[in-house]
């Protein structure tokens, strides 16, 4: 690490220790470090874009400049927003997000180029470039990000609206299931979209964040009751039903709705998040054992009941053998072929054949990255996710209130678990369940929801790192003997 070319900005280790020990000096905000890292990320993304264009043997068109500049401008604004509204936020989170989002944009642009002129599935040659749309979604996402930072000056205010958020989240989750087909069309077998004019959004993505706030607020307010009141059963302290009821009700409804909407990835994600929140809040390993037991039971029942679950499991066990079966292992096989083509070092950006992989923009984007950047590149991308989750957990550990701890831990875990589910599916480690790779995949709702999630993490880390404010001076009230006597008229 010594002699690494990256300047550490204003926060070299020696300097920060010196300031934190000498009273009166403010700890470094490290926004300079963040700016340097953002510039580094911007450099990598621009280079990636140039490589794609060169490998595709295209002249460096003006569009490249457009995409690159849009990217730089957007994240400069995000950086300024953080500087303004959360000056003590963690310096590593935003650059990691920026790099992931930028790489996602480049890969999506690269897939656009691959599809140019190629006939689409139904034989028509309509070329629909989506990179531009993704830039727009990123812009909207960053606006939401800045708005969250601006209007949420203290994450603890969220705890007060816990039940409201929980209710909105559940309603949002159910909305596409109950609305008629012209507003909520069924796409790829899952009825999770809402179509408003030209936009289609997935309310479930936002519901996840809302419900996480609810669970964290609920668990913090009821934590003591769980561990004290209740009776012992099979060597485990079970809380009373009325303490835990709302939690299990919301959890059960949410998971059931997602399973009925055939959104298996989201239901697994949500199940895992609540389990971890429960474990973090109570510090009882028994909950994890119980949860995994429940999950196994639920999974076996789902496997018996639903044919699409059986299909997924069969594809997972033998993707290549079921290559030609309808709804069989074609997708996973192609993804595995792509990863195999990439090998250790990858084919080079823009030199692979991503058009061979199905759903390349969304679910299988990790396979495209694996093909073009190889194992080395995909591992780097996964490590960036790890740094992101690490910083989130770090913020959660050092923040001084338990709601922030629980929410921060939950959000960071959600990010990591989402990556595990999708990359595990793409590499055939676990059965494939359709879910987006945070920040990489094409998809507006996922991007917006994840930007809100990152804003919350930054807010929590800012609260953890900011110097403590001096306690508010009490308004000096004169002693009661010194106060004037005031004659008050009796109302007539």
């Amino acid at each position: 690490m010594k002699g690494s070319p990256v300047p550490t900005g204003e926060g070299s280790p020696g300097a920060s220790v010196a300031t934190s020990t000498s009273p009166g000096l403010r700890p470094p905000t490290r926004r300079g470090t963040e700016l340097v890292m953002l510039a580094f990320a911007a450099g990598i993304v621009t280079l990636a874009l140039i490589l794609v264009e060169l490998n595709q043997e295209r002249s460096l068109s003006l569009r490249i400049l457009w995409l690159g500049l849009a990217y730089l401008g957007l994240f400069a604004c995000a950086h300024l927003a953080v500087r303004r509204w959360a000056p003590y936020a963690d310096p590593a989170i935003l650059p990691c997000v920026a790099l992931l989002n930028g790489l996602g944009l480049v890969v999506i642009h690269r897939i656009d180029l691959a599809l140019e002129g190629a006939p689409s599935a139904d034989g028509t040659t309509v070329w629909d470039p989506v990179a531009f749309k993704q830039v727009i979604w990123t812009a909207i996402g960053l606006v939401l990000f800045a708005a969250t930072l601006k209007f949420l000056s203290d994450h603890r205010t969220l705890a007060r609206f816990g039940y409201t958020f929980g209710l909105i989240g559940l309603v949002a989750l159910m909305l596409p299931g109950v609305l008629p087909g012209f507003i909520a069309p069924e796409i790829n077998g899952a009825k999770i979209w809402l179509r408003i004019g030209p936009l289609s959004i997935q309310p479930g993505e936002f519901a996840k964040v809302l419900l996480m706030v609810f669970f964290a607020a609920f668990l913090v307010s009821k934590r003591d009751l769980f561990t004290i009141a209740g009776r012992r059963f099979l060597g485990m302290d079970l809380p009373r039903a009325r303490d835990l009821g709302p939690l299990f009700a919301a959890w059960g409804v949410a998971v059931a709705v997602m399973v009925l909407q055939k959104d298996l990835g989201s239901s697994l994600l949500f199940f895992g998040i609540v389990l971890v929140l429960l474990y973090v809040a109570t510090e009882r390993a028994a909950w994890v054992v119980l949860g995994i037991g429940l999950f196994s039971g639920g999974a076996i029942i789902a496997w018996k009941l639903f044919t699409h679950v059986q299909q997924r499991v069969a594809n997972w066990q033998d993707p290549i053998g079921r290559y030609d079966v309808f709804g069989g292992g074609y997708q996973i096989s192609q993804s595995l072929f792509g990863l195999a083509t990439g090998g250790i070092g990858g084919a080079g950006l823009g030199a692979g054949r991503p058009e061979m992989i199905p759903e390349r923009n969304t679910d299988f984007i990790a396979a495209v990255i694996g093909e073009e950047l190889g194992f080395v590149g995909l591992a780097a991308v996964l490590l960036i996710y790890m740094v992101l989750a690490l910083r989130g957990l770090r913020g959660a550990i050092s923040v001084r209130d338990s709601f922030g701890k629980l929410l921060g831990g939950g959000l960071a875990f959600a990010l990591c678990f989402q990556v595990f589910i999708i990359v595990g599916g793409v590499t055939n480690l676990i059965p494939m369940t359709g879910i987006t790779a945070p920040f990489l995949s094409y998809g507006g709702s996922s991007l917006l929801a994840n930007y809100i999630l990152i804003a919350l993490l930054l807010r929590i880390s800012a609260a953890a790192r900011a110097p403590q404010k001096a306690p508010k001076p009490k308004p000096q009230q004169p002693a009661i003997a010194d106060q004037h006597t005031v004659m008050v008229e009796r109302p007539k």
Binding site: S4, S16, G345, V376, D401
Partner: protein, 148 residues
């Protein structure tokens, strides 16, 4: 072409290393741990060794276990109130439970009229008491101590 391919991967990994470097420097700064192996730390360590002044408050038991607050001379309010320095979420703690304040070079703990009391290593705190290094202070279900 091969060169750019490898170069890009190297750059990607350099970013990861840079991010981890930020994480590392931040780790030491935030926790106040002294890393003897790092050259940047030697000077500050030497100057701190002479005085055994407490430099941080560590929560050792309870829901907030692991939380550290570096001491900068300002008083530390502990309680369930939102504006406390250490916000406890504990049914056995009062809104304004206790205060740690510095007089001279020593830290003193005083109870702010809490319902369940503050204990300095078994002894109930009724008047401001000097807090030696590493002595547990029990507030509700939370235990904190001062460390250098």
């Amino acid at each position: 072409m091969q060169l750019t391919r490898a170069g890009f991967l190297v750059l990607l990994w350099l970013f990861v290393l840079a991010a981890l470097r930020v994480v590392r420097s931040d780790l030491y700064a935030a926790s106040g741990l002294r890393a003897s192996g790092l050259p940047g730390f030697r000077r500050s360590e030497k100057s701190a060794r002479g005085s055994k002044a407490p430099r941080q408050l560590v929560v050792t038991h309870g829901a907030l276990t692991g939380t550290r607050i570096s001491l900068d001379g300002r008083p530390i309010l502990i309680g369930r109130a939102d504006d406390s320095t250490l916000v406890l979420d504990d049914d056995f703690a009062s809104t304004r439970h206790a205060r740690l304040s510095m007089r001279g070079t020593d830290w003193y703990v005083e109870d702010l009229g809490s319902t369940n009391g503050t204990y300095l290593d078994r002894a109930k705190v009724t008047a401001p008491l000097r807090v030696p290094l590493g002595t547990p202070i029990r507030i509700g279900k939370t235990v904190i101590e001062l460390r250098s």
